[in-house]
Symmetry: C2
Subunit: 194 residues, 2 copies
DNA sequence: GCGATAAGTTATCGTGCGATTACTTATCTA
DNA sequence: TAGATAAGTAATCGCACGATAACTTATCGC
């Protein structure tokens, strides 16, 4: 296989594994297993685990912004707010994408990951303010909702959707639409892990 | 020193270190250094690193709920929403407390930490709904704001408060009050780390 | 003051990890 | 078709980590 294609496959696998286990909790061997290549190959292609994580973050952010721009450009009678909200939740179908970013967001202390996380987060903020035309208040509220969504995904709260009425109430409120996507992804994941 | 007091000192130190480096990123030696005891002692008191983290989480959650209950009981003309919001931000003065919880919130995949994180989060949800009298929508919005605050702390976004106007705008919006607490804690932290 | 118990430490061990080295296999081109 | 180049693997290394074992010091009741 061409190195470039293999690279992309490893990046996708790494996104899932980093999302599940976090930066420190992830091993290059785990990524290699998920990508069905040898562990040294993962290291050789990306140099170090840290560089691989940074590439995962950049790719995730690029996909996020690209999805937002598509949702913004897609003229329809649905209000922009809702269009962007739907686009965000739909990103959860790309397993590990939002979660890998979230892991970076709680590692601000790291001298390498910290600055990348901050600048990545702010590039989303800038998109909202400058491209989507949100006010500061609207942007704050949108981002807050996004962070709650990330938290629900990180906690795997959907696991308790059927068994706990209050979890159901919370998730129904936090995901006014497209909750079905999340429940489906979660079911897939549980199936894969067993 | 009495074992019970030493235990509490280690828990406080562990809260800070887990908050900074995450669960996997934290070493028992790092905690020992922060608590000024030997590494094996940390392990002996708590059994394993995992058990120590679980105790950190339980303590953090207990402090959080206790702060909320105090804010709720404290009769004043300030509306409940604002009182609870202020109480939450004030918890950031207890370094690592909110962040340790946040780290647990993105480790839902872990068979031990996952359930604890979910039940911890839901106990906050239940407080809002049952004790504070929030509606589902109000609770969702409050929690979303909380997750954004956690993210700002995790990213150490305050580091760029002075140098980036958009960061300033974001933080001023996300922290309508008591932002000063955060800026102060961040300054302390930077001083300590250098 | 002495034995027991509680509160610690130093030294060390096994292991899992990221990374390196040396090797192998396939593909393309002169 | 030889030989170069790209795409991979197997074997291994050094080390940092969590945990254990063995030892030391202080405190307190008798």
């Amino acid at each position: 296989m061409r190195a470039e294609d293999r690279r992309e496959l490893i990046l996708e696998a790494a996104t899932r594994v980093f999302g599940d286990f976090g930066y420190e909790g992830t091993t290059t061997a785990g990524i290699a297993r998920a990508a069905d290549v040898s562990q040294p190959y993962v290291v050789r292609v990306f140099g170090t685990k840290e560089k691989l994580f940074l590439e995962v973050l950049q790719r995730a952010l690029a996909l996020l912004l690209s999805a937002f721009r598509a949702a913004l450009a897609d003229a329809s009678d649905i209000p922009v707010h809702r269009r962007l909200g739907i686009a965000y939740v739909e990103l959860a179908a790309n397993r590990g994408l939002l979660l890998s970013l979230m892991h970076a967001y709680v590692l601000g202390r790291d001298p390498v990951i910290g600055p990348v996380g901050r600048s990545g987060f702010m590039s989303v903020y800038r998109f909202m303010r400058d491209e989507a035309g949100f006010s500061a208040d609207e942007t704050q509220e949108f981002l807050a909702g996004g962070m709650l969504i990330n938290t629900m995904i990180g906690l795997r709260m959907t696991d308790d959707y059927d068994s706990d009425a209050q979890v159901r109430e919370l998730l129904d409120t936090a995901f006014p639409e497209k909750l079905d996507i999340l429940l489906l992804v979660a079911a897939d994941q549980r199936a894969e892990e067993s």
